[in-house]
Subunit: 231 residues, 2 copies
Amino acid sequence: MSERTSFRTIRDEMARRIAERRWLPGTLIPGEETLAREFGAARATVNRALQELARAGLLERRRRAGTRVALHPVREARFVIPLVRQEIEAKGAVYQYRLLSREEVGPPEIIRARLGLGGRATLINVRCLHLADRAPYQFEDRWINLDAVPSAREAEFESMSPNEWLVKHAPFTDAEFTFLAAAANADEAALLQLSEGAPVFVGERITWLRGQPITLVRMVHPSSHRMVTSL
Amino acid sequence: MSERTSFRTIRDEMARRIAERRWLPGTLIPGEETLAREFGAARATVNRALQELARAGLLERRRRAGTRVALHPVREARFVIPLVRQEIEAKGAVYQYRLLSREEVGPPEIIRARLGLGGRATLINVRCLHLADRAPYQFEDRWINLDAVPSAREAEFESMSPNEWLVKHAPFTDAEFTFLAAAANADEAALLQLSEGAPVFVGERITWLRGQPITLVRMVHPSSHRMVTSL
DNA sequence: AAGTGGTCTAGACCACGCG
DNA sequence: GCGTGGTCTAGACCACTTG
């Protein structure tokens, strides 16, 4: 209501100038000081607006060089990564969890390499299934680094999924996500009630606690799965 | 070097307290005023650190109620969405573009519905291929709303891809992305040199200019494609 | 060397939402 | 109502780059 000069107002006005091509791609826009005077706001306020637009990819800013309208709006998309359980319950479906196997094994070469672990590392492999309204929703194949999370040796994962257990017991500081399409192998096909070779949507996540790898998880969905965002 | 009290320092210290479980999930943490005194910083500085952690999903903040450590770190991932050309050139590969077809057609029901358009809307359909080092990289199937971008009627798209043309001529304010896995149809399989039914990674994007739909594009990649982010 | 963005401070007022 | 976060201001100094 009060329409006080807000960083939102300023941000949106500048976005409009870019959208309406009053500020053309590649050109320099006025400096913060000038804009602050124009909008009748403090420089810090203008700065906040400019920073948001820069993070959105609409502007490129460099010290001394000034701020210019991005030539190619390399925009970013933000995806929310919830727990499977929440994802399913948010759809209004009934969530179920089924443990398939839990083994303490010597690390396969590929997994070791992905996690950057030496040969003596011990890992737990947990395979499980998440269901929505009794239909298979996600097959989870997870590796947990026992050196990083020794208490995982005592966890059974029979009623609580490794995902939720880890949230409670093993904090992380860094994560990397990968998304890809693949063909279901025999195992995955059977579990997800697909035919072998059917396309599946795969998400992989590795998490670290200050450089030490915690867990690697592969999450396999039927191809009906969609990951949506709006910017 | 100078290790002045920076919002980064404060942010990282607070992230550490959460990771090390000195601040437990679900509990209230001290107020901004208190933290500012503790860190010897201004409240605005602490505020910025707290806001970043909240946006990352580690904290939940509510007026009057205070700030608490999130129970379920519903974290978000940010993906950069570049132009295909940039994506390919960033890999050090040679980019090539090939126009397959360009038709002004009455809108198919499905496309109209996706864009929320009435029956009289006219669209251009452009199909093209993006290659990296002479190998098919992405098949693009695009619909452009001529009511929103009338000048597209004159565009040939023979040497410039619709993507780049639109960047230059049709600004947008909103976008929605969807990612999914699918089986290649005969068309896609032939173009991407895959066998029919092979899994493909599909990205779809719709863009609007202040509510008016501009374009809908379907981008199909071979299953070797990976979309990676780190948080 | 100088100009531009990056950040910090101290103080202030506002707005939301719990009690 | 009132305490907490949300934002704004005015001023200052710093850091990075480019000419």
